[in-house]
């Protein structure tokens, strides 16, 4: 690119191109320049900054006895002031992401280090969750001020850490996590709109649903079986988000939401398809009044997003059917656990067959194998809780294995025939 730009004056001088064309070429390459940090240098800068920041915290955590209280206090504030200055310099001189990203990351860790060291010097107790919460809150504005992806990633990671520290094995709910995620949404939506193909956007697409999947559990009551219903509705929401036109246009976007949600739904349905899930709890069906509104919100949002599909896909979607029929099966379980067990098995089987059918229509090998995997997993699971002779079990395995070969073979042939006729 640089070579072309160097040649421009010569081309103008010799009349090959007009000055206006030269300007247009320059403008074109200027606009093409990645506005975000995409270069290796920036990535290494961020990695270096994360390691340096963590290193500073660890050096402080050693707790140097030889320093006086005043020295330690000044040392605590020194990196904070230095990196605030560095960030201010990058901001004022309008440096590129190669500068602002590492500077922001260093400042992020300097904030954590300074609070930690002051707490250490004065023996201030305070639990880890409170410390992480203050730290994350103090650095949240930097995500927007520096428009930094690295800080957005750190924000999600530390919010998740805070939620884990607060909610894991405890009755306390990490309410601030909701604020942290909500506060990041405008930044995230902006990234999705402006930089849909950037690797950093894809990384956020993966990190965000993973974080939400982890942290949802910290908001639920100890009604484990009802929590499964909520998690299926939550994965349903992720699934319907993956169908949204903004995400669906780019497979890299919908990929993480789609993959995570489908995996979650299949795994949870397989878990609930076993007899013990329904029958162990006979007469003691778990239900939480507090989290029922959460279930309703997830289902309502899923329905809203699923209907909002802009690509006009009219084909029957087995995952949506599974998401909305599971709460009905769960309610059936209150009265008749046996029927609920049978219905869940039929649901998983139906889900697998429907995926295979859709894959056959679309000539999609990936989805075909996903459908086969769902059916096989169901059969394998049933081997553990039903009394069948080893001969029959062996035979079933052989049939399923052969099914994989034949289904793939038939689909590949159909696909070839389809391409030829086209």
């Amino acid at each position: 690119m640089k070579d072309i730009l160097k040649e421009l004056p010569e081309l103008v001088t010799h009349g090959v191109i007009t000055p206006a064309t030269a300007q247009n070429i320059e403008a074109y390459y200027a606009s093409k320049k990645a506005p975000e940090c995409s270069g290796l240098l920036a990535v290494f800068g961020i990695i270096g900054a994360v390691l340096t920041g963590l290193g500073i915290i660890l050096i402080f955590a050693h707790n140097w006895d030889t320093f006086t209280k005043t020295t330690k206090t000044l040392l605590a504030l020194l990196p904070l002031i230095v990196f605030q200055g560095l960030t201010a310099y990058a901001l004022i001189t309008k440096k590129t992401a190669r500068w602002t990203e590492p500077a922001g990351v260093l400042l992020f860790f300097a904030v954590g280090a300074s609070i930690a060291l002051i707490a250490q010097v004065y023996n201030i107790p305070g639990n880890l969750a409170g410390y992480l919460c203050t730290w994350t809150l103090l650095c949240l504005p930097l995500v927007y001020i520096l428009r930094s992806n690295a800080l957005a990633v750190l924000h999600i990671v530390f919010s998740t850490y805070y939620a884990f520290e607060t909610g894991f094995g405890s009755l306390e709910k990490p309410w601030m996590y909701l604020f942290f995620m909500g506060a990041l949404m405008p930044f995230y939506i902006n990234r999705l709109r402006k930089y849909p193909t950037a690797a950093s956007t894809s990384f956020l697409n993966l990190l965000l649903p993973v974080s939400c999947t982890i942290c949802l559990g910290f908001f639920l009551d100890f009604a484990y079986k009802f929590n499964v219903v909520i998690y299926i509705a939550f994965f349903g929401l992720l699934y319907s988000i993956s169908l949204l036109p903004a995400l669906k246009r780019n497979p890299m976007h919908s990929g993480s939401y789609g993959f995570l949600s489908q995996l979650g739904i299949v795994v949870l349905l397989l878990v609930t398809s076993s007899k013990w899930f329904w029958e162990v709890q006979t007469g003691n069906m778990a239900f939480s009044r507090h989290t029922l509104p959460v279930e309703i919100i997830f289902l309502a949002l899923s329905l809203y997003f699923a209907l909002w599909k802009a690509d006009g896909r009219k084909r029957f979607d087995p995952f949506l059917v599974a998401i909305f029929s599971f709460p009905v099966i769960y309610l059936t379980g209150f009265a008749a656990p046996h029927i609920a067990t049978i219905l869940t098995n039929l649901l998983v089987l139906g889900l697998g067959i429907a995926i295979i059918r859709n894959a056959a229509v679309e000539y999609d090998l990936r989805r075909l194998n996903l459908g086969l995997l769902v059916v096989s997993a169901l059969i394998i699971c049933r081997f553990f809780d039903t009394n069948m002779s080893f001969a029959i079990r062996g035979l079933m395995f052989v049939i399923v294995g052969l099914g994989f070969f034949f289904a793939n073979y038939i689909l590949i042939r159909k696909k070839k025939d389809h391409e030829i006729t086209k």
Binding site: A61, W64, D65, A116, Q120, L142
Partner: protein, 192 residues
């Protein structure tokens, strides 16, 4: 979403920087005021050694006076309890009153969390139960204290020196056998 203009960004940055500085400086100010102007109390204690991934090694202090008699079970799970103290005839601090609101009495007080009401006693989480130490010394301190506690000939109890002022409390030192814990650990190293 339209991103804010440059002036707003710079203003936002200045405010963020000030907030980032204000939190540690306020921590320093509160602790210094309490350390300098607060009244010192001695609390009998037992230490154990855990780790914080960011703030380093510390010993948790288990205070003997942290269980207080209370008639009302409602004391359990009280996030803000006013704990009033005074020095007893044995030279150590004792809790005299617990209250949900400030009392008009001359005793010093600090704010703490009350929890676990059991058999007429409520546990108070003293807000000075962490004593940070140089990483190699924290575990040695715990071991030293265990050995010290098991030796019958030694009579001096371990205690924490805490400055208390207007609801704030700052842990200044932990004393074993009449000397600060850091020095005690060094003395033990020399004797080995």
């Amino acid at each position: 979403m339209k991103l804010p203009n440059r002036k707003l960004l710079l203003l936002g940055f200045v405010l963020t920087v000030l907030a980032q500085l204000a939190i540690p400086l306020k921590m320093v100010y509160d602790c210094e005021m309490t350390s300098i102007n607060g009244t010192e109390y001695k609390f009998r204690t037992r230490p154990i050694d855990p780790t914080d991934p960011f703030r380093g090694k510390y010993i948790t202090l288990d205070y003997e006076g942290a269980s207080v008699r209370a008639k009302n079970p409602a004391w359990a799970d009280s996030d803000e309890t006013y704990v009033y103290i005074r020095t007893g005839s044995d030279g150590f601090a004792h809790v005299t009153h617990l209250s949900h609101h400030p009392l008009d009495i001359p005793n010093d007080y600090f704010k703490a969390k009350a929890y676990n009401f059991y058999e007429g006693q409520v546990r108070i989480e003293f807000p000075f139960d962490r004593y940070y130490m140089e990483e190699s010394k924290a575990y040695e301190a715990e071991l030293a204290y265990r050995d010290y506690n098991q030796t019958d000939s030694l009579k001096k109890p371990a205690y924490a020196v805490v400055a208390v002022r207007e609801g704030n409390a700052v842990l200044k030192e932990v004393i074993i056998d009449g000397i600060p814990m850091r020095e005690y650990v060094l003395k033990m190293r020399e004797n080995k």
